[in-house]
């Protein structure tokens, strides 16, 4: 809209605030996805092989937290830098065709489409579990899975069991929708605290500065963004160092 000159009022790109994007997908989606899967299935992660598709913020959180519960992680990535980061953090990096053969649990968080497909379902182990935390409902090709299955039933609340013609069973959580929202409570409340603070203070800022702000997209002022992070640290009982005058001077001259 801004590019097209159609934005007649000042707005704030709340999603670009660091208190939003540095924390919600990595920590919020990571924890709530695991909680949803474990509460829904009552399965043990220790010793399992978990395939994490995508190593952006979402995938990083998932991989880290699954390892925290004793799972072995295989990361599927198309981007070589993210792939090398995943490897450098101790994770195996494999194409899905190989990962499909060894995974007990498959988590998608790529933001893309068609991540788990017919060719993968055809070779998965009996009992494989699939869940999505990424793009709304297109990361797992549910239609292909359904087509492949000879039987389909609700095994447990939010768990659909697909029985294939050779007897193997594949379990899909929340019908492939975002598992942490569809099968649980979504982001933890403290993550929402951060996001809502950004939104509320953005509106507060717009309301107070309406006169002086030009129409167009503005960033949340850094000091407001920082104030939210400081408030959260304070609540956690953590305390920052204050830069000395000498350090502030050094930082300025260095820049």
């Amino acid at each position: 809209m801004e590019r097209d000159g159609a934005l007649e009022i000042p707005v704030i790109a709340a999603n670009d605030a660091r208190c939003k994007h540095l924390f919600d997908n990595r920590y919020g989606t990571g924890q709530s996805t695991l909680t949803a899967i474990l509460a829904t299935t009552n399965l043990l992660l220790a010793g399992k092989t978990v395939v994490v598709a995508g190593y952006g913020w979402v995938g990083q959180g998932l991989a880290l937290y699954c390892r925290g519960f004793g799972a072995r992680i295989v990361v599927v990535e198309t981007d070589p830098f993210k792939g090398l980061e995943a490897a450098s953090n101790g994770f195996e990096v494999r194409p899905m065709a190989e990962a499909a053969l060894v995974g007990d649990v498959f988590l998608t968080g790529t933001g893309s489409i068609g991540i788990l497909r017919r060719e993968h379902f055809e070779v998965m182990k009996d009992g494989a579990l699939l869940a999505n935390s990424g793009n709304y409902a297109h990361e797992i090709d549910v239609a292909a899975l359904s087509e492949l299955a000879v039987e389909e039933r609700e095994a447990r609340l939010h768990v659909t069991e697909y029985v294939l013609s050779d007897g193997r069973r594949i379990h899909l959580l929340a019908k492939g929708a975002l598992v942490n929202i569809a099968a649980s409570d979504g982001h933890p409340v403290e993550i929402m605290d951060l996001s809502f603070s950004v939104q509320a203070l953005s509106i507060h800022y717009l309301a107070n500065r309406a006169a002086e702000l030009a129409p167009g997209v503005h960033a949340l002022p850094a000091d407001v963004d920082e104030a939210i992070a400081r408030a959260r640290l304070d609540l956690l009982g953590m305390r920052l160092e204050e830069a000395t005058a000498e350090q502030q001077e050094y930082a300025r001259s260095w820049r």
Copy 2:
């Protein structure tokens, strides 16, 4: 009964099998306790200070898994060897009087009684969360907490909020009972698989060898115990090394 000559049949001490005690409390209680807490409260662990009372199997699992979710851990222990192990694994070790001042979440898994008491409730931070995974209902002194409170209400399913006279709120999960059982599904199914295998094969062994076994307490034969572990490894897609003849000979001579 055996000591008193009152045991007239052969029995197997199923709880001593390694497939039972090496896995259930550490991995099973650890994971299911966290799942119960997170699913019940929807709180974020990242950045929180979690106080873990007891560093036996249960506490080790809790500390490891909470750290896996980004919490800072403070361990409370009375045993100096366990305390030194906790410290050597990177955890702070503090008496409860100190831990009570900094904890956001308190988890008890000691197997003893009176771990969280009036003197601790009196100094806890507003919003402190208490849960028990240890001894049935006596690790948290719920009576003392109730006595101290001026108000008491169900804040959420399985969460009781105690409001103290100075306005601080303390949240107790599952009324102090075992949180992974009272507020969730208990041990993950694969942990139960191991335990039930031990019990079923113990009965099978007793039934088959009834004639030759003397009355008294027997151990599950090592090869049966091992067969269960091997079956589980197999299911996980893991494979053991076989000792060479030379290595077996070396092991014998060394003993």
Copy 3:
């Protein structure tokens, strides 16, 4: 130079390549700093409290690797977002005045100056160990430490012991210079492989495209940068997923 119109040839900003900045400080400085400290001192990290000043790439690597060896970490940061990230990864965040009281080991990696000062030396524990992996020689105020000491001696190669008037001893590594370079071999060879590849291929690119490149600062083309990451992954035995035509189309439309 470019801004001032003084750059008469095309150059490549090799340091901006992702194969350079994503890996060298975090993994290279992290590992080589620890190796230098442990090889130089033969001290045990398990159970120690390590204070990490700065939570940029260098500090993140140091904190992660020290925790890997069983240390408890206290992070000192002035930036609220980095501080909240440190907390979210399970580290305590404290001002140096508090951290100075509890640290066994102090590591600086801020890129700033005057991080460890007289006021901190005055309250440190007997036997505190100081090392710098950040800004060349100004993160630790060595002059102030020397002035405070009543005795100064080489305790071990690359370890200077300062004895204070009250008998406390503070140990400084490599005289406050970059410890991984001054007391060890610097970055691991594979990190240098990445950096040298970036530099060599930058020169190769400049030489081949000299005619068509305008004077000024250019970025290393993404496909060259990617080729280096791919080569490293290949050497590690890791394999990437290839995006399907459908996924590539989706990515384009989404952008």
Copy 4:
């Protein structure tokens, strides 16, 4: 000697003290082995596949610390319980014949013999690195490696390079001897503090109680063992909880 009636004086089994065996192999050998390898080779662990043979105390320390540095771990074990523990901690478990194909670094800590053999050398990747932290010099079959090589040279201090007929190179550290002793300073000093404390206090106890102790093997009294652990915790700034009278009574009745 005791069994044969040949022990004419009281002795203490110092090695059975908990301050000795709970800490030296796991933490001491683990850290000093890594330090030796990294200081000797200057190689990066992040992204490497490390094969750890044996998952006793030594192997557990090695696997944990290598993962701490970003390596992917493959554990080789013959014991099904240890194998299942390794898997439950997130490590892959494979026979050496498979692990030999994927490892970049091979660490032996089994206490047995002939762990890395001709058949493994024959399939290892070019550049594989071998080091031993277990049984003195028999875990790696150096004679077979030497026989297989067409060339043998000191690539770097403590690193022998074996060139095989197909051009692949295998690097052996410290000629297969204990790498943390032969190529570095052995156990960290604090581990030796614990061991020497056990030994010194054992002698002190024997000297003071000579009159009342019968000839034979005695255990270090638990309170002496505990006093050492308490002293170490104190030095680390850690503090234990004291059991209440009520808890002590409960513990007694429960036993």
